[in-house]
Every structure is written in structure tokens, then in C-alpha cells.
């Protein structure tokens, strides 16, 4: 054997992170860059605005979100109350800003949790026929249940509240991601470049992590873009049905649900919470889209 091949003996500690790490650095850079311009930036600005509003809610409005001031029911926006007051004489601005915290918290916990869970289970499904059979049937059962009914039943059993909302979103999110991942993996696994990685003797885990998974993530990324908006919607829908965040804690969905009864006579009641929900969903969407684009290029 020549000297070159001697050099190549695995004397050094095996499998250094080498080029992969470099790649991830570069992609991180690319992803970060994609958020500093165009639509990505707009998304960041939108979400950041809502985040900041939630974070600095006490500075933006001096009211407590659950404080009721007798005699100031359904006041229009004005000096004392930025967005007016609600049917229980509470400051809408305070409720919206604090509600945004809740909605953000729900989205930021539930979606990644559901996605990761879905990816793990989806991958598990592709390993063995039996695992596939079981996970697929479990997914079927979960997916086949209308999500709302799942939510209603869960809320009835566990009681309403933020953890219930998060659980419902995770439980309904995971199977969708799992399905997507599974079908993508089955497809990508057959592509020539995956075979070419196997041919060089790459272990199964490596092939999965480095080739199959990254090339399978595109539809998942698209889905996740929607899922953030979906989570915010799910929270609102559950609050609308009275199974969301436990009152009197504010949540965007709760404020919207309250406002709908007055949509005609006090239209401004609905404006602020709806604007924030739309801003959040659009923001999340733009971010996810920008990241997706960055991942593709």
C-alpha cells in the first residue's frame, strides 16, 4: 500500500464532524441571511413586533389584562384604552398583548414538538414493516378523528387550559408530519444518490441523517410554515368553543371569540385581536417560506 493510503487509516478518532459541520455552518449562515432581506425580513418584523408587544405589554398599556373597571364596558378606542374595552370592562389592548404571549407560547411549543415527534415516528415507520404497520394504524386513528372532536374530548377529560391546547396540536400535528416524512423517505431512499452513499459503505444512520432526511424535509417545511398559522388558529378555535385557554387568562382566540358577538355594533373590538392573529400567521409564514427558499438554493 502506498503512503497516501496509510495516511488514510483511521488512526485519528473516527467520524469527525468535518465537512458536515462546515456545511451546517454555511447553511446556518444562509438561513440567517435569508431572514435579513425581502419577505423573510418582513416576516421577522411582523413576528418580532408581536413578540415585543407581548414582552413589553406592561409598558404599552398600564392595564392589567384581567382587571375590570366597573362602568367602562365596551368603550371605543380612545385615550384611556388604546383599543377600547371589552364586554367585561377590561382593556382590550392589555388582553390582546398578553393574549399574544399565550398564542405565541402555544405555537412555539406545540409546532416544534409535534414536528419533531412526527419526524421521529415517521422515521421509525420506515425501519421495519411491523413498525410501519403499527405507526400507520395509530396515525390513522388519530387523523381519522376530527381534530376538533379530539380537542373537545381531551378538553372535557383533562379540563381546558394551555396544556390541553398544546397537547391537541401536538397530537394532531405529529401524524401529519409523520406521514409526510414517511412517504418522502420511501421515495428519496430509492434515489440514485442514496444508493451511491450506501455503495461507499456509509452506515444506515449516516445515510438517513445526511441524505435521506434533508432531501425529505421540503414538504415538511412547507407544512410547518402552515402549522404555525394553524396552531394559532387551533388555539382560537378551541377558545371559541370554550375549551381553550382557561378564562379569565387572555388569549387571542378568546378575545376574538368575545368580539364576534359585537362585530356589528362594536366592530373595533375585533380589529386588534384579528390584526395580531393575521400578523402572526403571515409573519410565521413568510419566515418559513424564506427559510424554505434558502434551504433549496
Amino acid at each position: 500500500m502506498s503512503e497516501l493510503s496509510h495516511q488514510l487509516e483511521p488512526a485519528a478518532p473516527p467520524a469527525p464532524p468535518g465537512p458536515a459541520a462546515r456545511d451546517s455552518w454555511r447553511s446556518r449562515h444562509r438561513f440567517a441571511a435569508s431572514l435579513t432581506r425581502g419577505a423573510g425580513l418582513a416576516g421577522v418584523v411582523l413576528v418580532a413586533m408581536v413578540c415585543l408587544a407581548g414582552l413589553f405589554a406592561p409598558l404599552l398599556t398600564s392595564w392589567d389584562p384581567v382587571q375590570q373597571v366597573a362602568g367602562s364596558q365596551l368603550l371605543p378606542p380612545g385615550a384611556g384604552h388604546l383599543f377600547g374595552t371589552d364586554q367585561l370592562s377590561r382593556d382590550i389592548a392589555a388582553r390582546v398583548f398578553h393574549g399574544a404571549r399565550t398564542s405565541l407560547l402555544v405555537a412555539v411549543i406545540a409546532v416544534p414538538a409535534g414536528t419533531v415527534l412526527g419526524i421521529l415516528i415517521g422515521l421509525l415507520a420506515t425501519t421495519r414493516p411491523l413498525a410501519d404497520l403499527i405507526t400507520q394504524r395509530v396515525f390513522d386513528v388519530v387523523l381519522a378523528f376530527p381534530a376538533l372532536i379530539l380537542g373537545v374530548l381531551l378538553a372535557l377529560v383533562a379540563g381546558p387550559g394551555t396544556p390541553t391546547v398544546i397537547t391537541v396540536i401536538v397530537v394532531t400535528e405529529a401524524p401529519i408530519v409523520g406521514r409526510l416524512i414517511r412517504s418522502q423517505v420511501l421515495r428519496v431512499r430509492e434515489l440514485p444518490f442514496v444508493e451511491s452513499a450506501r455503495v461507499i459503505g456509509a452506515p444506515g444512520g449516516w445515510v438517513l441523517r445526511r441524505h435521506v432526511l434533508p432531501n425529505s424535509l421540503e414538504p415538511v417545511a412547507v407544512h410547518v410554515a402552515l402549522a404555525f398559522s394553524g396552531a394559532i388558529f387551533a388555539e382560537s378555535a378551541m377558545s371559541f368553543l370554550g375549551i381553550g385557554v382557561r378564562p379569565p387568562a387572555p388569549s387571542l382566540g378568546g378575545v376574538i371569540a368575545d368580539s364576534l358577538l359585537y362585530i356589528e355594533i362594536r366592530p373595533w373590538f375585533a380589529v386588534a385581536p384579528l390584526a395580531v392573529v393575521v400578523a402572526l400567521s403571515v409573519g410565521f409564514y413568510l419566515i418559513a417560506q424564506a427559510l424554505g427558499k434558502a434551504g433549496r438554493d
Binding site: 390513522d140 374530548l153 421540503e218 400567521s281 409564514y285
Partner: protein, 319 residues
């Protein structure tokens, strides 16, 4: 292929069975007692006991399940605790209404998403991208209960051009234009989020196809872009599309619950919420079973469609 189908059906039955157990147990874990609902708040304990006995709720859970399952296998879903009457006919009415609504919504959603995605991919203009993207997001971001309320307010109340709620009084086939007017608002409301989701996935899939070399071949032959997309690329993108559509059926049923309430559409969604509220066990069980069955069937159909659409699968039975 046939063996594949048989295993799919087998697993479908398994799913139904699992789901039936889940719903049966979950319902009984939920606090609230149908007997109390029927007897009313003011009822005395002996009244409630009498009602419980009448409903057969005094037996053990296993016995109740076994008994119910046995009946279901004979296609007897029992009678509604609250509204009375055999569940078969109860659901029968709702099924037709929900079917009309959801199928219309699916058709609208599919049509909208096809048009939007093809336009989106064929003419990759920045402004169109942004406008469509934002529209798509907003229609996801604004939940049906909000869009529904707004739609009704504008089109049925402020400028009353469309009926606010309900189904055509003389049936769907008496006069198609009347039917259409009744359907417009609820179907739009139900279709929008589905259309938005489909558009996202479809346009993404089409864009991926658009980067394939065969598209270049077709373009080099002078094939107009729209034709390439509709003839070739769309078909390649269809499996993804179908999968997403299949998954959206669950969302559709959930959406139907909200939309039917807002538009007073007497379908299964309404029946379902009412029955959950009243702890009308047999009705909820039957409805969940039905929706699971629909889902299972859709999955099998999607599967077959997949196989049919991809010759590599059809001819060689690869996954």
C-alpha cells in the same frame, strides 16, 4: 396489487376497531352523564337511576362495548339517547347535507388551488408570489368562525344577497341556482383553509417538477408552460396532492363542525357537537366511526390512485 388492497382493507378494519375502542372509552371518561342530561338538572337521584337503567348504562363497560359492537356489526347503531329515533336514519339526513357541503368545498378548494398554483408557478413574478402567498396565509390565519361571521354579516345581513343559513328549503335538486346560493357562503368558508393548504403543497410540488429536466425537454419543443404543467407536471405532483387532500379530510370534518354551526347547516358536524354536549354516546360513537370509516376509505383510494398514477408502481408494484 390485490394482495396490497386486501392488507389495506384489513388494516382499515383494525383502525376502525381501535377507533371504536378509543371513542367508547374516551366518552365514558368525559365527565357528564347522559342520564342526567336527559333527566335535567332538577331531577332526583332515583329519576336518574331509572333513566340509566333504561339506557342500559348500568351494565359493565365491557358488556356495553361488546353489546354495542355486536349490534354495530349487524349495522344497528342503536337509538339516540336524547333526540330519540334510530341513529341510522338520524345520520342519514346529516350525511347527505354534510356530503353536499364538504364535496362542494373540496371541489372549490381543488379548483382554487389548481388555478392558483399553476398561475403561481407558470408566472413566477415577485408580486404575484407575495400577493398569493399572503392571501393563502390570511385564509389560513383567519379561522372559519371568523371568516364565516364576516361573510354572513356582509352578504346576508348588510347587503342581503345570499341566505344567511340553512339548506335549500325544497331540497338540493329543486332549483340548482337556489342551491348554489345556499352553498356559496358555507362552502367558501370551509374551502378556504383547505384550498390554501393545497395551494401551498401543490405549488411547491409543481415548482419541484418544474426544475426537472423533462420539463426542459418539453419546453424546448415549444410546449406552452401551462400545458406542461397540466399534462405532465401536474400528474407527477398529484401523489403529493392526493396525500395532502386525503389528510385534509380530517380537517374538513373539523371545519364542518364550525362551519355548520355558523351557517346552521344541519349536517353531521352539528349533530356531533350536539351529541357530545348531551353525552349522547351512541350518536357520537356512530359518528366517529363513520368519520373514521370515511377516512380509511379515502386513504385506500388515495393509495390506489397513487399506484394508478405512477406507472413505476402500477407496473412493478414498487411502493
Amino acid at each position: 396489487m390485490r394482495r396490497h388492497l386486501l392488507t389495506r382493507i384489513g388494516s382499515g378494519v383494525l383502525v376502525l376497531l381501535l377507533a371504536s375502542i378509543v371513542v367508547f372509552v374516551a366518552l365514558r371518561l368525559v365527565p357528564g352523564d347522559p342520564a342526567r342530561v336527559i333527566a335535567g338538572t332538577d331531577a332526583a337521584p332515583d329519576t336518574i337511576a331509572a333513566v340509566r337503567a333504561q339506557l342500559g348504562l348500568d351494565h359493565s363497560l365491557v358488556y356495553q362495548y361488546w353489546h354495542w359492537l355486536g349490534n354495530v356489526l349487524r349495522l344497528d347503531f342503536g337509538t339516540s339517547y336524547v333526540i330519540g329515533g334510530p341513529i341510522g336514519s338520524l345520520i342519514g339526513h346529516g350525511v347527505a347535507n354534510t356530503l353536499v357541503l364538504t364535496v362542494t368545498a373540496v371541489v372549490v378548494a381543488v379548483a382554487l388551488s389548481l388555478v392558483a398554483s399553476i398561475a403561481w408557478v407558470v408566472r413566477p413574478r415577485r408580486w404575484l408570489d407575495t400577493v398569493l402567498g399572503t392571501l393563502v396565509t390570511v385564509s389560513i390565519a383567519v379561522p372559519p368562525f371568523v371568516s364565516g361571521v364576516l361573510l354572513v354579516l356582509v352578504f346576508a345581513v348588510l347587503l342581503p344577497v345570499l341566505p344567511a343559513s340553512g339548506i335549500p328549503p325544497e331540497g338540493y335538486f329543486a332549483s340548482l341556482d337556489i342551491t348554489a346560493q345556499y352553498l356559496v357562503l358555507p362552502a367558501t368558508c370551509l374551502a378556504l383553509p383547505v384550498a390554501a393548504a393545497l395551494t401551498r403543497f401543490l405549488s411547491e410540488a409543481l415548482r419541484r417538477e418544474w426544475r426537472q429536466p423533462y420539463v426542459l425537454t418539453a419546453r424546448a419543443l415549444g410546449t406552452p408552460a401551462r400545458r406542461i404543467l397540466t399534462r405532465g407536471a401536474l400528474r407527477n405532483a398529484l401523489p403529493t396532492f392526493l396525500t395532502v387532500l386525503g389528510l385534509q379530510t380530517g380537517a374538513l370534518l373539523s371545519g364542518a363542525v364550525l362551519v355548520e354551526a355558523i351557517f346552521a347547516w344541519p349536517g353531521l358536524g352539528q349533530l356531533l357537537t350536539q351529541s357530545v354536549g348531551a353525552r349522547d354516546y351512541p350518536v357520537v360513537q356512530a359518528l366517529v366511526l363513520l368519520s373514521v370509516a370515511v377516512f380509511v376509505v379515502i386513504q385506500i383510494v388515495t393509495d390506489l390512485a397513487h399506484a394508478f398514477l405512477d406507472p413505476r408502481v402500477r407496473l412493478e408494484g414498487r411502493p
